[in-house]
């Protein structure tokens, strides 16, 4: 299929005579697509359908179907994502509580649902009801006492280990691509890389099933990143039903961008945050059409999840906060302090996690993935059980930390010393001195913080589906709550200090520790992923706290600046670099003064450029060239003397075309001439039939001169999505620059290891 070729009628006739060879225009696994070619193919198809539109009603229907197929794919993706997210939420809640006990009256209820209709719950112990039996009660018959504690401990560890073992075995046997978070690979796929099977049916099924098991085993991971992967799998599978998307890799990526928005929308209950996340973090190209489709996908997914109603209270996520107390200007200091903590933690986590993953990749630690998962799960379970804050499901921990202490709370975190004489009815409880319960809760929270910081470093990247959002938010929420309680006590005991006297009166409800937890969570998540706008939108959609946008923005901005001072990459870009994916980051700037001639191949000592001539080569010559070299494409020139450029031919297309010609056309032998030109040259009478391969030639390859600055070349590659670019000198072909060369050059100028770029 020629693109951008001449419009003269004899070319058109020749194109009509050659049928398209099946297989030409597809890509190998682990290769980069050519965005320009895909977009041209799509425009061709659209023109063809439109030109036939007026012929009959059937053609009109076909063109309508074509126009609406985009919205149909996105609707199906949203429906599937919402349904799967509901399944994952309900199943994960149930299995998490299975570690502690079981509901005898209805085995499928988790703890909260089991005690839902019971009248025996008391104000202090809201979870206890006779229908819910812990394992100690069932096995040894006692509910309290040291024996039952030990039995509960043993059963907790047993269940955690069996879930983790099941998860990693399923991943290893059925779908090895289902492990990890998925977001670095999806970012790379959306920038134009092909990973076959990564978004397939088996990966979808195994990721859904093992995500529930991984979350239920108590490991320090979340389900948001894997939900984005699940949604993209749905998008990919549905796009195969529509020829507009199944044959065109560039259009498919538009659907995948919309699908990732749907994924974040159901993970957090944040549809608008999902669209912004897709724009900021995941997508490479984001035209306005994709914005509309992402919006619609997020909407449909949120609607489906809400109608399934997994949490039983008509809300999408657990963290809805209901307080609307104002914040004061002096509180910006602790908020910025939390932002600094978030940035520091983010930088530490990225360095530590990448170091550990690199060690796992290159030494024998990585030879035993199943054993590694079991050991991590065992250590997590053993240390997490004694501390009530780590024994909790992480989402519930975050919810408890975000909730402010009102008159209706009775946890030890809210054990303040009440002024018993206060008989007037107030909505806000004034600031009070902390009781014993609060101090012990702070101590336990500090231990939980250290534990989570250490375990998350080793947990992110193990061979089960693992996300990063919830653990980061938990770490930030713990730190924020501790700071909030500290500021609250400071304000109570030193209310005569200048800063407090201005804004905090005695007896007023001044400080809200729950708000500090929220700000801390946002700061830590921002420090590790370096998101800005999408993070703030997600957090205020999660919590409903619209008054608190300014503190959130201040903390997120501070954490981004502090984190960037230590290293410019977020965790996902760092993982992309660790794996050596060919991802040309659109956010980095290339500021060196090198020229195209310095980066192009062949270099001074390399063998000369492997080229094809327009009509001088035989089939045998071409096959030899393909077998001897490993280049992905060959420039076609007019003749070796003139070196004037005709076009560019890809290796895969040449192989497929020659193979199909040998099978289908008679008379093609090894010594047949291959002709890339419009008119075949005159050959002697007894020579075999020439092979015309003009249809697979790209007649408009991009060229730059050898004196073009590399800044412009990198810009061209980024903006157009090129795979390779030819370099000419005075109009003659000199060399070639591929995306891999550019990535290697950028790594070299940034003093990183250029050999780490693995793929084409």
């Amino acid at each position: 299929m020629t693109n951008g070729g001449s419009i003269n009628s004899s070319t058109h006739l020749l194109d009509l005579l050659d049928e398209p060879i099946p297989g030409v225009g597809t890509y190998d696994d682990f290769h980069t697509i050519d965005w320009v070619r895909e977009k041209c193919k799509d425009r061709e198809r659209h023109r063809r359908i439109n030109s036939k539109k007026k012929e009959s009603a059937w053609e009109m229907t076909k063109s309508l179907y074509d126009a609406w197929s985009g919205w149909l794919v996105v609707t199906l993706t949203g429906l599937a994502s919402g349904a799967l997210a509901g399944l994952i939420d309900i199943a994960a809640d149930w299995m998490t509580d299975l570690k502690e006990g079981i509901c005898l009256s209805a085995l499928w209820y988790n703890h909260e649902q089991c005690c839902w209709g019971s009248n025996e719950t008391t104000f202090e112990e809201r979870d206890k009801c006779p229908q819910w039996k812990t394992w100690a009660e069932l096995i040894i018959g006692q509910a309290e006492g040291p024996g039952s504690y030990i039995m509960n401990y043993i059963m907790y560890i047993f269940w955690a280990l069996s879930f983790a073992f099941l998860a990693v075995s399923l991943v290893k046997v059925f779908a090895p691509y289902a492990c990890g978070s998925g977001i670095p690979e999806i970012k790379t796929i959306l920038s134009g890389f092909i990973i076959r099977g990564y978004l397939g049916k088996w990966t979808l099924m195994i990721k859904t099933i093992t995500l529930v098991l991984a979350v239920a085993s108590g490991l320090s991971l979340g389900k948001e990143g894997p939900l984005v992967h699940v949604a993209c799998c749905c998008g990919n599978i549905f796009s195969y039903l529509f020829p507009k998307y199944s044959t065109n890799e560039a259009k498919k990526r538009e659907v995948l961008s919309a699908a990732s928005a749907a994924g974040v929308s159901v993970a957090f209950g944040a549809p608008i945050g999902g669209v912004l996340f897709s724009l900021e973090e995941v997508s490479y190209y984001f035209p306005l059409k994709t914005l509309g489709r992402s919006f619609f996908a997020a909407l449909v997914a949120a609607f489906v999840l809400r109608s399934i109603n997994p949490f039983g209270n008509s809300r999408l996520v657990l963290f809805y906060v209901e307080y609307h107390t104002p914040w004061y200007l002096f509180e910006l200091f602790p908020f910025i302090l939390l932002g600094v903590f978030g940035g520091l933690w983010g930088a530490f986590f990225i360095r530590a996690n990448i170091a550990w993953c690199r060690r796992r990749k290159s030494t024998k630690f990585g030879k035993y993935p199943v054993l590694e998962v079991i050991i991590v799960a065992a250590i997590t379970a053993v240390i997490a059980f004694p501390n009530p804050y780590t024994r909790l499901n992480t989402s519930e921990l975050i919810k408890e930390l975000f909730t402010d202490c009102g008159p209706l709370e009775s946890s030890s975190l809210c054990d303040y010393r009440n002024d018993m004489n206060a008989s007037k009815i107030v909505d806000d409880i004034p600031d009070r001195p902390a009781g014993v319960g609060v101090y012990s809760a702070i101590w336990q929270l500090c231990l939980a913080l250290i534990f989570k910081i250490i375990m998350t470093v080793f947990t992110f990247g193990i061979k089960v589906p693992s996300g990063l959002f919830i653990p980061s938010m938990a770490i930030g929420a713990i730190a924020g709550r501790i700071v909030g309680i500290a500021v609250e006590q400071l304000a109570y005991f030193h209310h005569d200090w200048f800063i407090f006297k201005e804004w905090c009166e005695v007896g007023a409800d001044c400080i809200t520790p729950g708000l500090y937890a929220m700000v801390g969570a946002a700061a830590c998540l921002g420090g590790v992923t370096r998101m800005t706008v999408s993070l703030v939108v997600i957090v205020f959609e999660l919590t409903g706290g619209l008054e608190y946008i300014v503190p959130l923005m201040a903390a997120v901005m501070t954490s981004k600046w502090v984190g960037d001072a230590f290293g410019r990459e977020g965790i996902y870009e760092a993982h992309i670099r660790l794996n050596g994916y060919p991802f040309l980051d659109a956010k980095e700037e290339f500021t060196h003064t090198t020229l195209a001639a310095d980066v192009m191949r062949p270099r001074r000592n390399d063998p000369p450029l492997a080229v094809l001539t327009q009509d001088n080569m035989t089939v045998d010559d071409i096959e030899n060239m393909i077998n001897e070299t490993s280049y992905n494409g060959f420039p076609v020139i007019m003749s070796k003397e003139s070196q004037r450029l005709v076009g560019f031919a890809l290796r895969r297309d040449l192989t497929i075309a020659i193979e199909s010609a040998r099978k289908k056309q008679e008379g093609i032998v090894g010594s047949s001439r291959v002709c890339f030109a419009q008119h075949t040259p005159s050959l002697p009478a007894e020579s075999p039939r020439p092979l015309k391969l003009r249809s697979i030639l790209d007649m408009s390859p991009f060229t730059v001169t050898d004196h073009t600055p590399m800044e412009i070349v990198v810009d061209i590659f980024r903006k157009l999505g090129l795979r390779q670019c030819l370099v000419t000198h005075n109009g003659r072909l000199l060399g070639i620059i591929t995306k891999k060369d550019i990535l290697r050059h950028m790594a070299q100028t940034a003093n990183q290891d250029p050999a780490s770029i693995m793929f084409n």
């Binding site: 076909k62 209709g117 039983g312 794996n579 693995m758």
Partner: protein
């Protein structure tokens, strides 16, 4: 043209299945508003001598307030208003049918996968070894040291290409899938090339 028809057919079947699933879901959620699945929950904090208490009642949303739900009222007369002002009442509903169906679906899929995994890793090599005897033991160079399941996929693929009936097509597809998974496993677990 035939590819378009085929695409439309596939689309129609998928839409049909999803409509069925969605309608059953809607029916479930509608039928789920049964008596036990709605409640009004009132949390009342300690007041004077009374300890804090939680009250639950199956009552409609318009009647969900302190006076209808708190029964028996622990304080008398003029204190009732003060007590009720401190209480917080929320209307909640859930769908027990959805939860039950979801857990059953999940556990059955998990069970099937576990059975298939046990079959693939333990039962199939034993069966194949008994059926084909010693010829299977000659491994190709690629499979040396490869003790994973699916290690015999290459041989079966080569053999099954000659017989074109339906059962062999299924087996052919299965062996091709096994090869793909083996490739994926090599890149992820052995060579640590992707997803490290």
């Amino acid at each position: 043209m035939p590819s378009l028809c085929w695409g439309l057919l596939r689309l129609g079947s998928v839409l049909g299945v999803s409509c069925l699933a969605l309608s059953s879901l809607v029916q479930l959620t509608a039928a789920a508003k049964n008596f036990e699945d709605v409640r009004c929950k009132c949390i009342c904090p300690p007041y004077k001598d009374n300890p804090g208490h939680i009250y639950n009642k199956n009552i409609s949303q318009k009647d969900c307030d302190c006076l209808h739900v708190v029964d028996p009222m622990p304080v008398l007369g003029p204190d009732v208003e003060a007590y009720c002002l401190r209480c917080e009442c929320k209307y909640e509903e859930r769908s027990s049918v959805t939860i039950k169906v979801t857990i059953i679906i999940y556990l059955s899929i998990l069970g099937l996968l576990l059975l298939y995994m046990v079959y693939l890793t333990l039962v199939e090599p034993i069966l194949k070894r008994r059926l084909f005897g010693h010829s299977q033991l000659i491994q190709s160079e690629d499979d040396i040291g490869d003790h994973q399941p699916f290690a015999n996929a290459h041989d079966v693929l080569a053999r099954s290409r000659s017989r074109p009936n339906v059962l062999n097509k299924v087996e052919y597809a299965q062996q091709r899938w096994k090869l793909q998974v083996q490739e994926q496993r090599k890149s992820v677990f052995d060579r640590h090339v992707v997803l490290s």
